[in-house]
Protein backbone atom coordinates (compact mmCIF):
# COMPACT_ATOMS: atom_id res chain seq x y z
CA UNK A 1 0.00 0.00 0.00
CA UNK A 2 1.18 3.46 -0.85
CA UNK A 3 1.95 5.33 2.41
CA UNK A 4 0.37 8.46 0.96
CA UNK A 5 -2.82 6.50 0.20
CA UNK A 6 -2.94 5.28 3.81
CA UNK A 7 -2.45 8.80 5.19
CA UNK A 8 -5.11 10.20 2.88
CA UNK A 9 -7.53 7.40 3.72
CA UNK A 10 -7.11 7.89 7.46
CA UNK A 11 -7.54 11.66 7.12
CA UNK A 12 -10.83 11.11 5.28
CA UNK A 13 -12.01 8.59 7.86
CA UNK A 14 -11.16 10.93 10.76
CA UNK A 15 -13.14 13.71 9.07
CA UNK A 16 -16.18 11.42 8.61
CA UNK A 17 -15.95 11.52 4.81
CA UNK A 18 -16.44 8.46 2.61
CA UNK A 19 -13.47 7.11 0.65
CA UNK A 20 -12.65 3.94 -1.27
CA UNK A 21 -9.21 2.42 -1.53
CA UNK A 22 -8.92 0.93 -5.01
CA UNK A 23 -6.16 -1.70 -5.27
CA UNK A 24 -5.09 -3.36 -8.51
CA UNK A 25 -4.62 -6.94 -7.32
CA UNK A 26 -2.36 -7.61 -10.31
CA UNK A 27 0.39 -5.09 -9.67
CA UNK A 28 -0.53 -3.90 -6.16
CA UNK A 29 -0.91 -0.24 -7.14
CA UNK A 30 -3.58 1.62 -5.23
CA UNK A 31 -5.30 4.97 -5.01
CA UNK A 32 -7.98 6.73 -2.99
CA UNK A 33 -11.28 7.72 -4.58
CA UNK A 34 -13.42 10.25 -2.70
CA UNK A 35 -17.18 10.43 -2.94
CA UNK A 36 -18.06 12.59 -5.93
CA UNK A 37 -14.79 11.91 -7.82
CA UNK A 38 -15.52 10.94 -11.42
CA UNK A 39 -14.31 7.49 -12.45
CA UNK A 40 -15.27 6.22 -15.92
CA UNK A 41 -16.47 2.84 -17.13
CA UNK A 42 -17.20 -0.40 -15.30
CA UNK A 43 -14.80 0.52 -12.51
CA UNK A 44 -16.63 3.82 -12.00
CA UNK A 45 -19.98 2.03 -11.82
CA UNK A 46 -18.61 -0.43 -9.25
CA UNK A 47 -17.17 2.43 -7.22
CA UNK A 48 -20.50 4.28 -7.24
CA UNK A 49 -22.22 1.10 -6.05
CA UNK A 50 -19.68 0.61 -3.26
CA UNK A 51 -20.21 4.20 -2.04
CA UNK A 52 -23.95 3.58 -1.90
CA UNK A 53 -23.94 0.17 -0.22
CA UNK A 54 -20.75 0.42 1.80
CA UNK A 55 -19.88 -3.10 0.63
CA UNK A 56 -16.28 -3.91 -0.24
CA UNK A 57 -15.38 -6.45 -2.92
CA UNK A 58 -13.48 -7.31 -6.08
CA UNK A 59 -14.43 -6.14 -9.54
CA UNK A 60 -13.18 -7.07 -13.02
CA UNK A 61 -12.70 -4.02 -15.21
CA UNK A 62 -10.43 -3.08 -18.11
CA UNK A 63 -9.07 -6.63 -18.09
CA UNK A 64 -7.79 -6.25 -14.53
CA UNK A 65 -9.00 -7.22 -11.09
CA UNK A 66 -9.47 -4.42 -8.60
CA UNK A 67 -10.32 -4.67 -4.93
CA UNK A 68 -12.52 -1.87 -3.64
CA UNK A 69 -12.37 -1.32 0.09
CA UNK A 70 -15.23 1.01 0.97
CA UNK A 71 -14.79 3.14 4.07
CA UNK A 72 -18.06 4.87 4.90
CA UNK A 73 -18.51 6.91 8.06
CA UNK A 74 -20.88 5.46 10.62
CA UNK A 75 -24.27 6.97 9.75
CA UNK A 76 -26.06 8.50 12.69
CA UNK A 77 -29.31 10.17 13.59
CA UNK A 78 -29.70 13.49 15.40
CA UNK A 79 -33.16 14.10 16.80
CA UNK A 80 -34.26 17.60 17.73
CA UNK A 81 -36.87 17.14 20.45
CA UNK A 82 -36.95 14.86 23.49
CA UNK A 83 -40.57 13.95 22.87
CA UNK A 84 -42.65 10.78 22.96
CA UNK A 85 -41.73 9.84 19.36
CA UNK A 86 -38.04 10.20 20.21
CA UNK A 87 -38.38 7.79 23.13
CA UNK A 88 -39.32 5.07 20.65
CA UNK A 89 -37.07 6.28 17.84
CA UNK A 90 -33.84 6.26 19.85
CA UNK A 91 -33.69 2.54 20.76
CA UNK A 92 -35.04 1.42 17.37
CA UNK A 93 -32.50 3.49 15.42
CA UNK A 94 -29.70 2.18 17.60
CA UNK A 95 -30.74 -1.41 16.88
CA UNK A 96 -30.85 -0.63 13.15
CA UNK A 97 -27.23 0.56 13.34
CA UNK A 98 -27.77 4.31 13.53
CA UNK A 99 -26.45 5.76 16.81
CA UNK A 100 -28.72 8.51 18.08
CA UNK A 101 -28.22 11.88 19.75
CA UNK A 102 -31.13 13.85 21.10
CA UNK A 103 -31.10 17.61 21.53
CA UNK A 104 -33.78 19.56 23.37
CA UNK A 105 -33.21 22.68 25.49
CA UNK A 106 -36.39 22.02 27.45
CA UNK A 107 -35.01 20.37 30.55
CA UNK A 108 -38.40 18.95 31.53
CA UNK A 109 -38.32 16.85 28.35
CA UNK A 110 -34.62 16.04 28.10
CA UNK A 111 -34.20 13.92 31.22
CA UNK A 112 -32.08 10.76 31.53
CA UNK A 113 -35.11 9.15 33.14
CA UNK A 114 -37.08 9.46 29.92
CA UNK A 115 -34.05 8.63 27.76
CA UNK A 116 -31.88 5.95 29.34
CA UNK A 117 -28.80 4.89 27.34
CA UNK A 118 -29.10 7.74 24.82
CA UNK A 119 -26.70 10.61 24.20
CA UNK A 120 -28.90 13.44 25.40
CA UNK A 121 -28.19 17.19 25.28
CA UNK A 122 -30.47 19.47 27.33
CA UNK A 123 -29.17 22.44 25.37
CA UNK A 124 -30.03 24.58 22.38
CA UNK A 125 -29.20 23.00 19.00
CA UNK A 126 -27.07 26.08 18.22
CA UNK A 127 -24.71 25.18 21.06
CA UNK A 128 -24.52 21.43 20.47
CA UNK A 129 -24.10 21.67 16.70
CA UNK A 130 -21.29 24.18 17.12
CA UNK A 131 -19.36 21.52 19.05
CA UNK A 132 -20.48 18.53 16.98
CA UNK A 133 -21.26 19.72 13.47
CA UNK A 134 -23.69 17.87 11.24
CA UNK A 135 -22.37 16.18 8.09
CA UNK A 136 -23.56 14.21 5.07
CA UNK A 137 -23.54 10.95 7.06
CA UNK A 138 -25.96 12.38 9.61
CA UNK A 139 -29.75 12.25 9.45
CA UNK A 140 -31.71 14.96 11.24
CA UNK A 141 -35.27 14.64 12.43
CA UNK A 142 -36.84 17.76 13.94
CA UNK A 143 -39.84 16.79 16.03
CA UNK A 144 -40.46 19.55 18.57
CA UNK A 145 -43.03 21.54 16.52
CA UNK A 146 -41.36 24.62 17.98
CA UNK A 147 -39.74 26.97 15.46
CA UNK A 148 -37.42 28.35 18.15
CA UNK A 149 -35.91 24.89 18.56
CA UNK A 150 -36.36 23.25 15.14
CA UNK A 151 -35.57 25.99 12.62
CA UNK A 152 -31.88 26.55 13.33
CA UNK A 153 -31.22 22.81 13.24
CA UNK A 154 -33.13 22.35 9.98
CA UNK A 155 -31.17 25.13 8.29
CA UNK A 156 -27.91 23.66 9.62
CA UNK A 157 -28.89 20.19 8.35
CA UNK A 158 -29.60 21.53 4.86
CA UNK A 159 -26.30 23.44 4.81
CA UNK A 160 -24.37 20.35 5.99
CA UNK A 161 -26.08 18.24 3.30
CA UNK A 162 -27.40 15.73 5.82
CA UNK A 163 -28.50 12.57 3.98
CA UNK A 164 -31.93 12.88 5.53
CA UNK A 165 -33.82 15.89 6.86
CA UNK A 166 -37.30 15.38 8.26
CA UNK A 167 -39.60 17.76 10.08
CA UNK A 168 -42.74 16.98 12.04
CA UNK A 169 -45.78 19.11 11.34
CA UNK A 170 -48.82 19.33 9.11
CA UNK A 171 -48.65 20.71 5.58
CA UNK A 172 -49.93 24.02 6.95
CA UNK A 173 -47.26 24.07 9.63
CA UNK A 174 -44.67 23.21 7.01
CA UNK A 175 -45.79 26.00 4.67
CA UNK A 176 -45.09 28.50 7.44
CA UNK A 177 -41.78 26.79 8.13
CA UNK A 178 -40.80 27.13 4.47
CA UNK A 179 -41.35 30.89 4.70
CA UNK A 180 -39.15 31.10 7.80
CA UNK A 181 -36.36 28.99 6.25
CA UNK A 182 -36.40 31.16 3.12
CA UNK A 183 -36.01 34.17 5.39
CA UNK A 184 -33.05 32.43 7.05
CA UNK A 185 -31.41 32.19 3.62
CA UNK A 186 -32.21 28.60 2.63
CA UNK A 187 -32.79 28.05 -1.09
CA UNK A 188 -35.97 26.53 -2.48
CA UNK A 189 -33.96 23.51 -3.69
CA UNK A 190 -32.59 22.96 -0.23
CA UNK A 191 -36.01 23.25 1.37
CA UNK A 192 -37.42 20.73 -1.11
CA UNK A 193 -35.14 18.13 0.49
CA UNK A 194 -37.05 18.30 3.78
CA UNK A 195 -39.39 15.36 4.33
CA UNK A 196 -42.51 17.00 5.70
CA UNK A 197 -44.86 15.81 6.94
CA UNK A 198 -42.29 13.42 8.34
CA UNK A 199 -42.17 9.64 7.87
CA UNK A 200 -43.16 7.03 5.29
CA UNK A 201 -46.86 6.59 4.68
CA UNK A 202 -47.57 3.43 6.66
CA UNK A 203 -50.65 4.78 8.39
CA UNK A 204 -48.71 5.27 11.61
CA UNK A 205 -50.91 6.36 14.51
CA UNK A 206 -49.02 6.01 17.79
CA UNK A 207 -45.77 7.81 18.60
CA UNK A 208 -43.89 4.48 18.28
CA UNK A 209 -45.42 3.80 14.87
CA UNK A 210 -44.47 7.28 13.71
CA UNK A 211 -40.94 6.50 14.91
CA UNK A 212 -40.95 3.40 12.65
CA UNK A 213 -42.08 5.57 9.73
CA UNK A 214 -39.31 8.11 10.39
CA UNK A 215 -36.60 5.48 10.77
CA UNK A 216 -37.68 3.69 7.57
CA UNK A 217 -37.64 6.97 5.67
CA UNK A 218 -34.16 7.80 6.96
CA UNK A 219 -32.87 4.34 5.98
CA UNK A 220 -34.42 4.71 2.53
CA UNK A 221 -32.67 8.06 2.14
CA UNK A 222 -29.35 6.55 3.21
CA UNK A 223 -29.55 3.58 0.87
CA UNK A 224 -30.57 5.64 -2.14
CA UNK A 225 -27.80 8.24 -1.76
CA UNK A 226 -26.27 9.22 -5.06
CA UNK A 227 -28.98 7.63 -7.18
CA UNK A 228 -30.53 10.00 -9.66
CA UNK A 229 -34.26 10.51 -9.56
CA UNK A 230 -34.97 8.11 -12.44
CA UNK A 231 -33.14 5.24 -10.76
CA UNK A 232 -34.31 5.74 -7.20
CA UNK A 233 -37.22 4.07 -5.50
CA UNK A 234 -40.58 5.78 -5.90
CA UNK A 235 -40.58 8.97 -3.88
CA UNK A 236 -41.70 8.02 -0.43
CA UNK A 237 -45.07 9.29 0.55
CA UNK A 238 -45.52 10.90 3.90
CA UNK A 239 -47.72 9.73 6.68
CA UNK A 240 -51.02 11.45 6.98
CA UNK A 241 -51.12 14.95 8.33
CA UNK A 242 -53.43 14.08 11.12
CA UNK A 243 -50.55 12.59 13.07
CA UNK A 244 -48.48 15.72 12.85
CA UNK A 245 -50.77 18.49 13.87
Amino acid sequence: MDPYALKTLNAERRARRAAILVTDLGDGRDRIVREGDQVAGDLGAAIARAFRTGNSGSVEAEGRTFFLNAHLPQPRLVVIGAVHISQALAPMAKIAGYPVEIIDPRTAFATPDRFPDVALHAEWPEDVLKRQPLDSYTALAAVTHDPKVDDFALKAALDANCFYVGALGSRKTHAKRVERLLALGASADQIARIHAPIGLDIGAASPAEIAVAVLAQAINAFRSRGLDASASAPKSKSISEKHDA
Partner: protein, 112 residues
Protein backbone atom coordinates in the same frame (compact mmCIF):
# COMPACT_ATOMS: atom_id res chain seq x y z
CA UNK B 1 -24.84 -2.07 17.67
CA UNK B 2 -22.49 -0.10 19.90
CA UNK B 3 -20.92 1.64 16.92
CA UNK B 4 -19.34 4.93 17.76
CA UNK B 5 -19.62 7.66 15.17
CA UNK B 6 -15.93 8.41 15.63
CA UNK B 7 -12.96 6.15 14.93
CA UNK B 8 -11.69 4.10 17.82
CA UNK B 9 -8.15 5.30 17.15
CA UNK B 10 -6.54 3.13 19.81
CA UNK B 11 -7.82 -0.04 18.15
CA UNK B 12 -8.20 0.93 14.51
CA UNK B 13 -5.74 -1.16 12.44
CA UNK B 14 -5.19 1.44 9.70
CA UNK B 15 -4.59 4.23 12.23
CA UNK B 16 -2.13 1.97 14.08
CA UNK B 17 -0.36 1.13 10.80
CA UNK B 18 0.06 4.84 10.07
CA UNK B 19 1.48 5.36 13.56
CA UNK B 20 3.97 2.52 13.10
CA UNK B 21 5.02 3.99 9.76
CA UNK B 22 5.65 7.37 11.40
CA UNK B 23 7.77 5.56 14.00
CA UNK B 24 9.91 4.24 11.16
CA UNK B 25 8.72 0.63 11.42
CA UNK B 26 8.29 -1.73 8.49
CA UNK B 27 4.63 -2.65 8.18
CA UNK B 28 2.46 -5.12 6.26
CA UNK B 29 -1.28 -4.83 5.78
CA UNK B 30 -3.47 -7.91 5.34
CA UNK B 31 -6.98 -7.48 3.95
CA UNK B 32 -9.84 -9.95 3.58
CA UNK B 33 -10.70 -9.63 -0.12
CA UNK B 34 -13.12 -12.52 -0.53
CA UNK B 35 -15.19 -14.83 1.66
CA UNK B 36 -17.28 -17.92 1.02
CA UNK B 37 -19.67 -19.49 3.48
CA UNK B 38 -19.61 -18.53 7.12
CA UNK B 39 -16.52 -16.36 7.34
CA UNK B 40 -16.01 -14.69 10.70
CA UNK B 41 -14.80 -11.30 9.41
CA UNK B 42 -16.31 -9.39 6.49
CA UNK B 43 -14.58 -8.46 3.25
CA UNK B 44 -12.43 -5.39 3.82
CA UNK B 45 -11.30 -6.34 7.34
CA UNK B 46 -7.66 -5.67 8.18
CA UNK B 47 -4.84 -7.20 10.14
CA UNK B 48 -1.74 -5.00 10.34
CA UNK B 49 1.64 -6.47 11.20
CA UNK B 50 5.06 -5.00 11.95
CA UNK B 51 8.43 -6.61 11.23
CA UNK B 52 8.67 -7.90 14.81
CA UNK B 53 5.39 -9.77 14.48
CA UNK B 54 3.27 -7.34 16.51
CA UNK B 55 -0.23 -7.16 15.08
CA UNK B 56 -3.61 -5.44 15.44
CA UNK B 57 -7.02 -6.14 13.94
CA UNK B 58 -8.23 -9.46 12.57
CA UNK B 59 -9.02 -11.33 9.37
CA UNK B 60 -10.74 -14.28 11.07
CA UNK B 61 -11.87 -15.27 14.52
CA UNK B 62 -8.27 -15.91 15.50
CA UNK B 63 -8.01 -19.10 13.43
CA UNK B 64 -5.51 -18.01 10.79
CA UNK B 65 -3.92 -14.85 12.20
CA UNK B 66 -0.76 -16.73 13.18
CA UNK B 67 -0.19 -17.92 9.62
CA UNK B 68 -0.95 -14.48 8.19
CA UNK B 69 1.56 -12.86 10.55
CA UNK B 70 4.39 -15.16 9.45
CA UNK B 71 3.54 -14.65 5.77
CA UNK B 72 3.41 -10.90 6.42
CA UNK B 73 6.93 -10.90 7.82
CA UNK B 74 8.10 -12.58 4.58
CA UNK B 75 6.22 -9.96 2.57
CA UNK B 76 7.92 -7.18 4.57
CA UNK B 77 11.30 -8.77 3.77
CA UNK B 78 10.62 -9.57 0.13
CA UNK B 79 8.36 -6.67 -0.77
CA UNK B 80 6.10 -8.65 -3.08
CA UNK B 81 2.40 -8.88 -2.19
CA UNK B 82 0.81 -12.32 -1.70
CA UNK B 83 -2.69 -13.71 -1.93
CA UNK B 84 -3.42 -16.30 0.78
CA UNK B 85 -6.37 -18.63 0.85
CA UNK B 86 -7.67 -20.44 3.91
CA UNK B 87 -10.36 -23.07 4.04
CA UNK B 88 -11.77 -25.62 6.43
CA UNK B 89 -9.09 -27.01 8.73
CA UNK B 90 -7.71 -29.98 6.84
CA UNK B 91 -4.37 -31.55 7.61
CA UNK B 92 -3.78 -32.64 4.04
CA UNK B 93 -4.34 -29.19 2.61
CA UNK B 94 -3.50 -26.63 5.25
CA UNK B 95 -1.75 -26.43 8.57
CA UNK B 96 -4.29 -23.93 9.77
CA UNK B 97 -7.87 -23.39 8.74
CA UNK B 98 -11.24 -22.04 9.63
CA UNK B 99 -13.12 -24.32 11.97
CA UNK B 100 -16.32 -22.48 11.10
CA UNK B 101 -16.31 -24.09 7.66
CA UNK B 102 -15.91 -20.92 5.64
CA UNK B 103 -13.16 -19.95 3.21
CA UNK B 104 -11.37 -16.64 2.97
CA UNK B 105 -8.87 -14.97 0.68
CA UNK B 106 -6.42 -12.58 2.30
CA UNK B 107 -4.26 -10.11 0.40
CA UNK B 108 -0.99 -9.30 2.18
CA UNK B 109 1.03 -6.29 1.05
CA UNK B 110 3.86 -4.19 2.36
CA UNK B 111 3.22 -0.58 3.31
CA UNK B 112 5.49 1.49 1.09
Amino acid sequence: MENSIYLDEARDPLIIAEGWMKDGKDVAIATVVETWGSAPRPVGSHLVIDADGNFHGSVSGGCVEGAVVSEAIDVIDGGKARMLEFGVADETAWQVGLSCGGRIKVYVERLG
